[in-house]
């Protein structure tokens, strides 16, 4: 494999793996906290059982998230030392704060998971709150670092050296608000629909215990609240990208030439050289989306120097996959809400669709991440440092990529097997 490609493959695999567990690590404490809180209020035993069952899953998933996150903290240096040499002294602040947020998370998740018999019920419930808060904060802090990579700021380059570093300015790079909101909501969307899908799957297999119904209710409420918010925020993100990250925007929308009446381009097939053929085009809609005006001009790829363009096919198709899955999730949420309000949530067709929420949520999560990261290429920090120039000089990248990929396969397989086991009725921790 090409040296840079091998490094990107390893980093990409690591991030795509970690983001699943990171999102669950942010979302599950909320679900568990709601379940246990509901039990404390109503004394409905089903919600206690639900909190116990989910917290076993949370223990396993959180551990995988912690170790896969550790891999990333090493890989920043092991794969991209040139980037870290530049960027460490500029965006260290959000990373440091993330460190503290992760600390609080790890401490209180220890208290929560091992404290069932050592703390009073109310105290025990209270220990999940810092996990919920610091989980969201740590996702937010890491996203701040990513926002900086999209639009680096807070420093000057004089004779090739970084000077005048302003850590607080660097910490809040321009895309920070939209990116943080979009990432955090993504965690709740994915966790809500994934947990609901597990319950719906059990329901379809004849498991109608109160704990399954309770799980469906809590998870779907979280998912159904998060997904419309996420779509609104996503729309804001797209308009931000159109205004401030034209290369990414033109790539995800496959807009070859700058134009008025710009069309929305949906789907299509990737070509050998990474382009798109035979998409569906909806004339004028992109201009409307960007500026609420069909006459508005939208910047196309022709204004981006050819060596600064992100890869088209993967960015565009990831974008469509995210938007398509997100829309499908919204429809599932609406269908479930209507059925639940009419007290008719228990029907097979609806449950089948709720089960689809897990793969759809995963596609939306990964698709969105791919858009951000592929859409930033060929830069590791846009305009500052190219990915190809940031890579390590150390050898054996192929072997390392395959080695760590094997670890991910082993982790995923064991995790899957254990999750199936702890979800079963009557399994003690």
């Amino acid at each position: 494999m090409d040296h840079v490609f091998a490094a990107r493959a390893q980093m990409g695999t690591s991030l795509a793996f970690h983001i699943v567990f990171a999102a669950l690590g942010v979302g599950l404490p909320l679900l568990v906290g709601i379940a246990e809180g509901w039990w404390l209020r109503t004394h409905d035993r089903a919600y206690y059982d639900l909190a116990r069952t989910w917290s076993k899953g949370m223990a396993i998933l959180f551990a995988v998230g912690a170790v896969s996150g550790t891999i990333l903290s090493f890989e920043l240096g092991l794969l991209w030392p040139v980037f870290m040499k530049y960027a460490g002294g500029i965006i260290g602040l959000p990373f440091s704060l993330e460190g503290f947020a992760f600390f609080i998370e790890a401490i209180f998740i220890g208290l929560y998971l091992h404290g069932w018999d050592k703390l009073s019920p109310r105290m025990h419930w209270l220990t999940i709150l810092p996990v919920v808060i610091s989980g969201a904060l740590s996702a937010g802090f890491i996203t701040l670092a990513n926002a900086w990579m999209q639009m680096p700021t807070g420093f000057r380059i004089v004779n090739g050296a970084v000077t005048d570093v302003q850590p607080l300015v660097a910490m809040f790079a321009l895309p920070w608000k939209t990116e943080v909101a979009h990432t955090t909501l993504a965690a709740y969307v994915f966790t809500g629909f994934a947990a609901a899908a597990v319950c719906a799957f059990a329901w379809l297999h004849g498991d109608r215990r109160p704990v399954v119904l309770a799980g469906l209710r809590v998870a779907m409420i979280v998912g159904a609240i998060a997904i419309p918010l996420q779509i609104v925020v996503g729309d804001v993100v797209a308009r931000f990208d159109a205004a401030h990250e034209p290369a990414k925007f033109a790539t995800m929308e496959v807009l070859e030439r700058t134009q008025r009446h710009a069309p929305i381009t949906i789907g299509g097939f990737p070509t050998r050289d990474g382009g798109i053929v035979d998409p569906i085009e909806l004339p004028g809609l992109l201009s409307v989306l960007v500026a609420f005006d069909p006459n508005a001009e939208v910047t196309g790829l022709d204004r981006i120097p050819s060596n600064d363009r992100p890869p088209v096919a993967v960015t565009h198709l990831s974008f469509d996959a995210m938007v398509g899955s997100g829309t499908a999730l919204l429809l599932i949420a609406i269908a479930w809400t209507v059925a639940a309000l009419r007290k008719r949530a228990g029907n097979r067709v609806l449950m089948l669709f709720v089960t689809l929420g897990a793969p759809l949520g995963l596609i939306a999560l990964e698709g969105g991440w791919f858009v951000t990261e592929f859409g930033r290429q060929p830069w590791i920090a846009r305009g500052l440092l190219r990915t190809a120039d940031a890579v390590t000089t150390s050898p054996d990248l192929d072997a390392r990529f395959f080695g760590f990929s094997l670890i991910y396969v082993a982790l995923a397989a064991t995790c899957w097997w254990l999750m199936r086991r702890v979800g079963r009725p009557g399994v003690a921790s």
Partner: protein
């Protein structure tokens, strides 16, 4: 010596590394003892280790993350250089860290006496050896200034790190074991491990004298001499306290020993961070960054310290 932002950052990094060496080291050592669990009380020995590590290992592990973040925020140039030069031992250590954490948690949910549980037990123990060995090896290689991670000296430091983790673990667990017989097992192990540490600690020094003249010269630094003296005294104190059942004092002594080794190490080679390549100052990021980091660390500590106290009070109350 005045307190510059750089020196304060060195202090923060030193605190994080020391706490990881002691607390994270105890968890790795627990894995080593899990691997070596034997005799009629094999199962309760393992149960005691699981119980001691379970609630705290994730929090202890964050000290490593925090040390890494501190390094690349405050000393990015050295961080990048070390990550290139020591990619091999760091990758192996990473594999160990990942498999240890995952296998430990997975094992708790794999059921008793299943094939998966047995496999995970082996992985947990082996990974608990691998991680401190290669972290120690990386530290030894760093001290040579050549990143010579396959040198006898570096490898010997790796072995030393493993024995030290075992010693810290056996000493720390004494206060938490309920079963008297199991506690006595660990009491014997703590004494043996302390003797092993003193032997394993002498080997790198002898190897440095024979093969690493530059390094051996650094060991003649008064700070290094003082650190070795403190570590030796602390080791004797560990044995004395363990034998006389002063378990809290034993914990304190073993922590002093670990911190003396690390402190002597970096104090001895100061102001060099990577000998011959970077000093603390030449590797440092801007004062603005370091000051911002220190302020963030101070604010974080306000939340962190009471949380840690709560965690250890709930789970680390002495056994009766």
């Amino acid at each position: 010596m005045t307190l510059t932002p750089v020196m304060a950052a060195v202090a923060v990094a030193g605190i994080a590394m020391s706490l990881y060496a002691v607390l994270g080291g105890a968890d790795f050592g627990g894995g080593v003892w899990d691997l070596l669990a034997s005799g009629p009380r094999r199962a309760p020995q393992r149960a005691a280790i699981s119980e001691a590590i379970g609630p705290v290992w994730e929090a202890n592990h964050v000290w490593l993350i925090f040390a890494i973040v501190t390094s690349f925020t405050c000393f990015p140039a050295a961080f990048a250089d070390v990550a290139v030069g020591l990619y091999a031992p760091l990758s192996f250590a990473l594999v160990g860290i990942v498999l240890r954490g995952a296998a430990f948690v997975f094992r708790n949910y794999a059921g008793d006496a299943t094939a998966l549980a047995r496999t995970l037990t082996v992985v947990f123990g082996a990974a608990s050896l691998l991680a401190p060995f290669f972290l120690g090896d990386a530290l030894g290689a760093l001290a040579t200034g050549q990143y010579a991670w396959t040198s006898p000296f570096a490898l010997a430091v790796g072995v030393f790190a493993v024995t030290m983790c075992a010693q810290v673990a056996a000493t720390f667990i004494l206060r938490e074991v309920h079963d008297l017989a199991v506690r006595t097992d660990f009491r014997i192990r703590a004494v043996r491990a302390t003797i092993a540490v003193s032997v394993a600690g002498a080997i790198p020094i002898a190897l440095a004298a024979a093969t690493e003249p530059g390094l051996f010269a650094a060991l003649q630094h008064p700070v290094a001499h003082a650190a070795i003296a403190v570590a030796l005294a602390a080791g004797l104190a560990v044995i004395a306290c363990v034998v006389t059942c002063r378990d809290l004092a034993a914990r304190f002594a073993v922590a002093v020993e670990a911190v003396a080794v690390l402190g002597g190490w970096f104090g001895g080679q100061a102001p060099a961070l990577v000998p011959g390549r970077y000093t603390f100052t030449s590797a440092a990021s801007s004062d603005a960054m370091i000051v911002a980091f220190l302020v963030a660390a101070a604010c974080g500590a306000v939340l962190l310290i009471p949380s840690l106290v709560l965690l250890f009070r709930v789970f680390k109350a002495p056994a009766r």
